[in-house]
């Protein structure tokens, strides 16, 4: 990477003939890298498509219990960060160092905000025990146990067992999470796999997709934030004169792709089925 502020003689690398060739190569290189990123995420999107096709009910159920308003805020943050990033290229092209740094820092802040809300989201999900595996199974067992105990008591007292409508309207008292109460009321009294049940195992399958896809996307955001910070440092020490604007453009291409992936991810994870609220 070029290290000096003096003229385009040091911006031009020795193996290129001219700046246009260099910028063109750098842009194309980043585009090719974006191709690999898209194919990387495609694997997960294909797998998601298969399972959503097989288990639409479970996917809709699980999706309805994700925190959609955080996803909505994050979508706004990310789109805005893409705006500021694009404007940052303009600043670099015009040689406006202060504007460049300002816009890069704005982008960083918005992207950081995204990660902040994501952290909030993940911790909330964890506190709600909406995590696949043993945690999920234990939490799901709690409302089931309460329902079973209540039903058994009714039988013992000679009252009729819970009807389907009563199960639907049941008021839980044990402090279980909303999703597990919802799942228990849908499944109680029915044989597993019957009409109207929601398989808890397949809900966990959806959750694997949720955590892995948003997690990998989050890693890409973090890497992007690192690159933006690097750009801020480079701009600060004057290593982004007008001729070197393509450094900013190259990172912005990556940032836009991460944004685009989120634009597809968000409806596929959070907006399955008609939204009734969390």
């Amino acid at each position: 990477m070029s290290a000096s502020t003096h003229g385009h003689g040091t911006v031009l690398k020795h193996h290129f003939d001219n700046l246009e060739q260099q910028h063109s190569a750098e842009r194309l290189g980043m585009w090719f890298f974006l191709v690999t990123e898209v194919l990387f995420f495609s694997g997960m999107f294909v797998a998601y498509t298969v399972y959503r096709n097989w288990y639409p009910g479970e996917f809709a159920f699980a999706s309805s219990h994700l925190i959609w308003w955080i996803a909505a805020i994050n979508t706004g943050l990310l789109i805005t960060s893409s705006l500021t990033m694009t404007l940052a290229i303009r600043s670099a092209q015009l040689g406006d160092k202060a504007g460049l740094i300002r816009r890069l820092l704005l982008t960083f802040a918005l992207g950081g905000g995204f990660m902040g809300f994501k952290a909030l989201e993940y911790t909330t999900d964890y506190h709600e025990r909406f995590v696949p595996g043993e945690v999920f199974r234990t939490e799901y067992a709690r409302p089931l146990a309460e329902l079973t105990a209540d039903d058994a008591r009714r039988k013992y007292e000679g009252r009729p067992v819970l009807t389907a409508q009563e199960v639907k309207d049941y008021q839980f008292k044990g402090g279980q999470e909303h999703w597990s109460q919802d799942l228990a009321t849908r499944n109680y009294g029915k044989t597993p796999g019957a009409e109207g049940t929601v398989s808890p195992e397949r809900v966990q399958l959806f959750l694997m997709f949720y955590y892995i896809m948003t997690g990998i996307h989050g890693v890409h955001i973090i890497v992007g934030l690192g690159c933006i910070l690097w750009l801020v440092c480079e701009a600060w020490r004057g290593a982004i004169p007008r001729e070197a604007y393509s450094k900013v453009e190259v990172i912005s291409l990556y940032w836009h792709l991460v944004d685009m992936i989120w634009l597809f991810l968000m409806p596929l994870l959070y907006l399955i089925g008609t939204r009734g609220g969390h």
């Binding site: 060739q21 944004d259 008609t274």
Partner: protein
Amino acid sequence: MAHDPHHNPGDPPTLHDVDTVSSVVTVYAVVLALAVANILLASADLKAMALPVQLGIASVQACLVAWYWMHMRRGDTAVTLSAFTTLFFMFIFFVLVLADVLTRWRAAI
């Protein structure tokens, strides 16, 4: 790449390579509006149309971002080719996997 006779390859970017603020912000407004629409439409009971609508909105957003913000409209052939090639192979991936998955015999679950 446009071959402007007055534009030497070694020069810094000329003004026609620089995005105007208004073009960037207009795209922003449209993309953001589409995102809001996408979220609001989730409350409408679209049933089977919901997924195509959501993916359609996301695709329009992606096209706008790619064409304007990622400068695809500048017209480097290699860039355009790589974008369409990616889409083509993604399409192949989806179609051929689904060709198996959707045509398997399955007992009632």
